[in-house]
């Protein structure tokens, strides 16, 4: 078995073999191609110094996304185009960065240039929010960002077409069946259909499933694990679909948060607010909703709101397909209800009833690109003024994302007023025994969890009361 990894590097074709399938794009660029404009600042997707643009042909049209080269495996480039800072010439973003004094030490600069180039290309007319979002995954320690923001605003007035791709060349790289790659015993599979995926996962039940790799990539770059067999879901067309059906909103297991953003924000604006704070544009372009669930993390931002909304998970393997409520997937810390050889096929979010109040909040030290100390989601179903039912789920409060059973029970049947809320707050202490770590103490987690219930009440009943400091006044 085994083929070469075929892709376009800037304007040239590449057919690569002889490298481990878990070689990152960044390692490849810097060590093999000697393209050193792309920098390593962290090797964990958090600083943006390694930002590159990936071009992909979707239904005959080019899609360009900024991603973190440091955590993405090289074989996922197969059939795609990789664009690095060296390829930009001197575009309007770069010119504006020079004119606005957007670089000091310059180490972060190529990353900002790539993020902003993708942003300018994708938004015909980027507004300040688009710009802030675009650089939320890029750290600069020197400039204080003001000149970079100014440069972005200046570049925005240019009506430049930033990125162009020879579509025919890329078209020629398309594969109809599974791509297999191997080096020194390490295997990489990229199936095209769910059936192929089910077959190959059955054949390699111990393989690592790879979605966006925003967790898996770090197993390699940070924990230095060797992955024997990797099965990539990113080219399984059926897993990349978002559908509205009678059952609700169906999100395929390999849909990235960037792609799911619009549907989820449309489902409920509170989800939109949360997702804008989910990592960064680069990570959202990679990270999948399925991976966010399947990693079993107690601090993932997807599960609490999805549990509160009553989402269901469709798990599939070669032998069976089954559906279960999302909360049942999380058994204990590090233990999920996914059998070997199984995968998340899709997530189904049932339609939200009119009388359900829904809010989700993320608490972290920093607004952008931070992991939640606490993530809280409330779905309160009202019957007149009374709470008919409540689904409350928290992240960061236990070893898994978990529902607040005592609190839900205490709320049910009570009038939805401040007195009720203040009375039931303490029930959260029966639901959770949070821990102390570098993100927060147990005491803060509990206090803020209780206060978020108050916030939910205030926001759903007192529109005149201002809450939330971020973006205040804009």
């Amino acid at each position: 078995m085994g083929d070469t990894i075929k892709f376009m590097l800037n304007d040239q074709m590449r057919a690569v073999s002889g490298l481990s399938p878990t070689t990152t794009i960044l390692q490849y660029l810097r060590l093999q191609e000697r393209l050193t404009g792309t920098k390593e600042g962290c090797a964990e997707g958090d600083c943006g110094a390694c930002t590159v643009i990936i071009g992909e042909l979707e239904n005959g049209k080019m899609e360009y996304e900024a991603i973190n080269a440091c955590i993405v495996f090289l074989p996922t480039l197969d059939g795609r185009r990789l664009i690095t800072v060296e390829n930009l010439g001197m575009n309007a973003v770069q010119k504006a960065m020079v004119e606005c004094h957007g670089s000091q030490c310059g180490f972060c600069t190529p990353g900002f240039v790539m993020s902003l180039t993708a942003c300018m290309h994708n938004h015909g007319n980027a507004n300040d929010e688009n710009i802030q979002d675009a650089i939320s995954g890029n750290l600069c320690r020197c400039t204080g960002y003001r000149p970079i923001l100014d440069a972005a605003r200046r570049a925005n007035t240019e009506k430049e077409r930033y990125l162009k791709t020879d579509v025919a060349t890329l078209e020629g790289l398309r594969r109809e069946t599974m791509f297999s790659y191997e080096h020194a015993g390490q295997k990489f599979f990229s199936p095209r259909t769910v059936e192929e995926l089910a077959d190959v996962t059955a054949q390699y039940p111990d393989a690592t499933l790879l979605g966006g790799g925003t967790d898996v990539g770090l197993w390699v770059t940070k924990k230095h694990r060797t992955l024997e067999t990797v099965i990539y879901t990113g080219n399984v067309a059926a897993l990349r679909e978002i559908k509205q059906t009678d059952a609700g909103l169906e999100i395929g297991g390999a849909v990235s948060y960037a792609h799911a953003f619009e549907s989820l924000a449309a489902y409920d604006p509170s989800m939109g607010v949360l997702l804008r704070r989910f990592a960064s544009v680069q990570i959202r372009n990679l990270g999948t909703v399925g991976g966010n669930i399947a990693n079993g993390s107690p601090i993932g931002d997807g599960p609490p709101p999805l549990i509160a909304l009553g989402a269901k998970l469709v798990l599939r393997s070669k032998s069976c397909t089954r559906q279960l409520p999302l909360e049942d997937f999380f058994i204990a810390y590090g233990k999920q209800a996914c059998e070997k050889g199984g995968f998340v096929e899709k997530i189904i979010i049932p339609p939200k009833a009119k009388n359900v109040l829904f809010k989700v909040y993320k608490i972290s030290k920093r607004f952008d690109q931070d992991i939640s100390a606490v993530c809280a989601a409330f779905a309160i179903e009202l019957d007149d003024d009374k709470v008919a039912s409540a689904r409350i789920a928290f992240g960061g409060m236990a070893g898994t994302p978990k529902r607040a059973a005592h609190t839900e029970k205490a709320l049910t049947g009570k009038p939805w007023n401040e007195e009720t809320v203040r009375n039931v707050m303490s029930a959260l202490e029966n639901d959770y025994q949070p821990m102390t770590d570098m993100r927060a103490t147990a005491g803060y987690r509990m206090q803020v969890a209780q206060n978020l219930l108050i916030r939910c009440f205030i926001e759903t009943t007192q529109p005149e009361t201002e809450t939330g400091v971020y973006g205040y006044g804009s």
Partner: protein, 744 residues
């Protein structure tokens, strides 16, 4: 000689590498093409905060691709990489005892970094874990110090407090800060003939790296050359901390006879390298009804970590800034340099100054609260006498006369441009009507002393070559880390010759070109190296003018003709800072050539349910003297403010109860992003010149603006205490600390 070029001094020219930065063409140490046969190195760290090393067995490290393993035993010279020779105690590799979790124990060189890492972890190191000191209070109790306690005093503090109408006592904790330069520590060492070494190192102090490599290898300094073109940020974190990595690479290069690169991963960098010192402070202050300070005692318990490194100088500078812009009169400042089993803390932009300054600003704020006064009024009451009107209130607690205070003027201008009084009222009105969100506002000054406080270090050298075609190459002892030093020095040299800027090029800082340099630190880079480069240029210019003899030849012709007449077109230049004189044992003298000033107003908003906060607006007026390059200077001010705001808000270092740091990557250590900067950010340069004879009468700008962020911290305190007047807020003001201040 005819002067044709447009003056570049004073112009907002772009950074000299800006076009290379944006196109990815700027070369950093890790980007240098490695010589053939280059090996990669990895350092194994101690897992314990304090332990005896009972045995190191490296036999398991010998796997395919490994070329050398080195421990303390393999060091031919001294096992010492301390920056200050009188304070040794920073071994390259721990020998018998490890003193913090993360200390280097051994290093491996291999064909790839993966092999080196795997091999290093196959070493068997047996430890006997010992009790560890993890906080400064314990260190003080056990008299565990890296230097003697030190006191600065003037008048009689106790008597002054005694006589005062009001007395306040308290304690205040100030957190440390990770540098988070975007480019991590890295060195590439190539062995040359006869045991000599060439080193590329991302360092603010090439001379020290040179000297320490020589020391570790048992060579003379002349056998080692260190080159440094640019750093991807330094902020003090590459002043002394780069040496360990360069020395380990050099030792492995010696052992293998091959080039060795040592680039640490971000986590290892954050675990192994020192940070801004965290402090526990106590104070007692006496004051009258107007808030005028009658006497004050302040104690700094400085967490130095396991070794001295630069800590004694850092702790001194914290003390020097215990007054900030205020005349203290009767004052006693005591400093304990605590030795703990943590990473050895080091230089960080401001070098202790920010911590000293934050304490006094905190105290002044407390005084105002106690009296129910606007803190700005209390600040005004306590200022040093203004420049030109020196009276009784101009002597610092280290007995230097403050001759150049412009704080009154800065206050007056900023109060008006920042609409302070009206905004204070608006904040109070908002708080009266807003149930959950509260605002706060604060107005703070900065006065920062410029010069190395170790007088010897205030010297600089430069080397200027004029080539036959009229182009000019400049070298100086300063290093470029983004602060625009090379841009400024180019401007200075171009203007001195009167030639266009593009004829002047600055090349990598090299110990082979300018020897015995000081670190690029203490904000002194442009002050000192600019003067040295100017001196060199003036020497050549003098020769050329003499040769020209009034003919007014155009530059290129003149240069060619002078060459033809065998006139030297190259010169060194030298500068030493005048007027300074510091008697440390007596704690008296003039450690600083001058002071740089600034002031800021910050307005913030907090969420009293969660403790989350946001900076809504910052107004800054900052003094850079006559600006050589306003764009570069404004960049330093904005960048400094944001870095300072990060230190005081979201940047929290966290160790577990075993003394192991858990915030060692950007996933857990949160520096500001673009959305964290003040939404409304107004920065202006104060219109004035340095009264001292500095280069172009400019002032140093690297460090002082960081302290403008004190306003942001005190604004957060203002907001929190608007709900809970008895609340207490330590730094950094994370959401958790703010919520604690709000709720009790």
């Amino acid at each position: 000689m005819s002067i044709t070029a447009k003056k570049s001094m004073g112009s907002p020219l772009p950074h000299d590498s800006a076009e290379m930065h944006v196109s990815g063409g700027a070369t950093y140490t890790d980007d240098i093409r490695e010589p053939a046969g280059c090996l990669q190195a990895y350092i194994l760290q101690s897992p314990h905060a304090h332990a005896k090393i009972k045995k190191i067995d490296v036999s398991g490290c010998c796997i395919a691709g490994v070329h050398a393993v080195v421990t303390a035993k393999d060091i031919p010279g001294e096992n010492e990489v301390a920056p200050v020779p009188i304070y040794p105690g920073d071994p390259l590799f721990a020998k018998d005892e490890v003193m913090f979790a993360g200390q280097s124990v051994l290093a491996v060189a291999a064909d790839t970094i993966e092999i080196a890492r795997t091999a290093a972890h196959k070493a068997v190191v047996e430890y006997e874990v010992l009790p560890a000191i993890l906080d400064v209070q314990t260190a003080v109790k056990e008299k565990s110090f890296v230097g003697d306690p030190y006191v600065m005093r003037i008048g009689d503090a106790a008597a002054g407090i005694e006589k005062s109408a009001h007395v306040l006592e308290g304690a205040f904790d100030i957190g440390g800060q990770e540098h988070f330069y975007l480019e991590g520590q890295v060195a590439l060492v190539t062995p040359l003939e006869n045991g000599e070494m060439h080193c590329y190192s991302s360092t603010q102090h090439p001379t020290e790296v040179q000297h320490l490599i020589a020391k570790v290898l048992g060579l003379a300094d002349h056998a080692v050359t260190v080159d440094m073109r640019r750093m991807g940020g330094g902020f003090g974190g590459k002043e002394s901390q780069a040496s360990l990595f360069a020395c380990a690479a050099a030792l492995l290069a010696r052992k293998t006879g091959r080039p060795v690169k040592l680039r640490v991963d971000r986590d290892d960098d954050m675990i192994m390298t020192g940070k801004r010192h965290d402090l526990h402070c106590t104070y007692k202050v006496g004051f009258d009804d107007n808030g005028l300070i009658g006497g004050i005692e302040m104690t700094h318990m400085v967490n130095c970590g396991y070794s001295a490194d630069l800590s004694n100088a850092v702790a001194d500078r914290a003390m020097f800034h215990a007054d900030n812009a205020y005349f203290l009169g009767n004052a006693k400042v005591t400093s304990y340099r605590c030795k703990t089993n943590k990473v050895s803390n080091t230089a960080f932009r401001g070098f202790g100054g920010p911590q000293g300054l934050l304490l006094i600003e905190y105290i002044v704020d407390e005084i105002a609260r106690k009296l129910g006064k606007d803190p700005l009024d209390v600040r005004k009451a306590n200022l040093y006498d203004p420049k030109g009107k020196l009276g009784k209130r101009c002597i610092t607690h280290y007995h230097m006369t403050v001759e150049d205070s412009i704080t009154h003027e800065l206050f007056a201008q900023l109060e008006k441009s920042g609409d302070y009084a009206k905004r204070v009222q608006e904040v109070r009105n908002f708080n009266a009507r807003s149930k959950i969100l509260k605002k706060g506002i604060a107005f703070t000054p900065v006065k920062f002393g410029i010069s190395f406080t170790l007088t010897m270090l205030n010297q600089a050298g430069a080397l200027v070559h004029v080539y036959k075609d009229g182009s000019v190459q400049v070298n100086h002892g300063g290093t470029e880390m983004g602060q625009g030093l090379h841009t400024k020095v180019c401007q200075i040299v171009a203007d001195t010759f009167g030639i266009p800027l593009d004829l002047v090029k600055i090349t990598a800082t090299s110990t082979g070109k300018v020897p015995n340099t000081s670190a690029t630190a203490a904000s002194s880079g442009a002050d000192m190296n600019g003067k040295a480069a100017q001196a060199a240029a003036l020497i050549i210019k003098g020769r050329l003018e003499k040769f020209d003899a009034g003919r007014n030849l155009p530059w290129k012709e003149l240069v060619m003709a002078a060459y033809g007449e065998r006139i030297s077109l190259s010169s060194t230049g030298f500068y030493k800072t005048p007027k300074i004189d510091w008697d440390r044992p007596a704690a008296k003298g003039r450690p600083f050539y001058y002071f740089a000033y600034g002031a800021a107003i910050a307005e913030v908003i907090i969420d009293t349910l969660t403790g989350e906060s946001n900076i809504l607006r910052a107004d800054i007026l900052h003094d850079v003297g006559r600006s050589i390059n306003p764009a570069v200077d404004i960049g330093q001010i904005e960048g400094g403010f944001v870095q300072g705001a990060g230190w005081l808000t979201s940047e929290e270092l966290w160790w577990d109860d075993k003394g192991v740091i858990k915030t060692h990557a950007p996933s857990t250590y949160k520096i500001p992003t673009g959305r964290d900067i003040p939404k409304d950010f107004r920065v202006a340069l104060y219109d004035g010149i340095n009264q001292e004879d500095t280069i172009y009468n400019s002032k140093a700008v690297g460090e002082p603006p960081l302290m403008l962020a004190t306003a942001a911290f005190l604004a957060l305190k203002d907001a929190a205490l608007s709900v809970n007047p008895n609340g207490h807020l330590d730094a950094p003001a994370t959401p958790e600390r703010i919520l604690k201040a709000v709720t009790g």
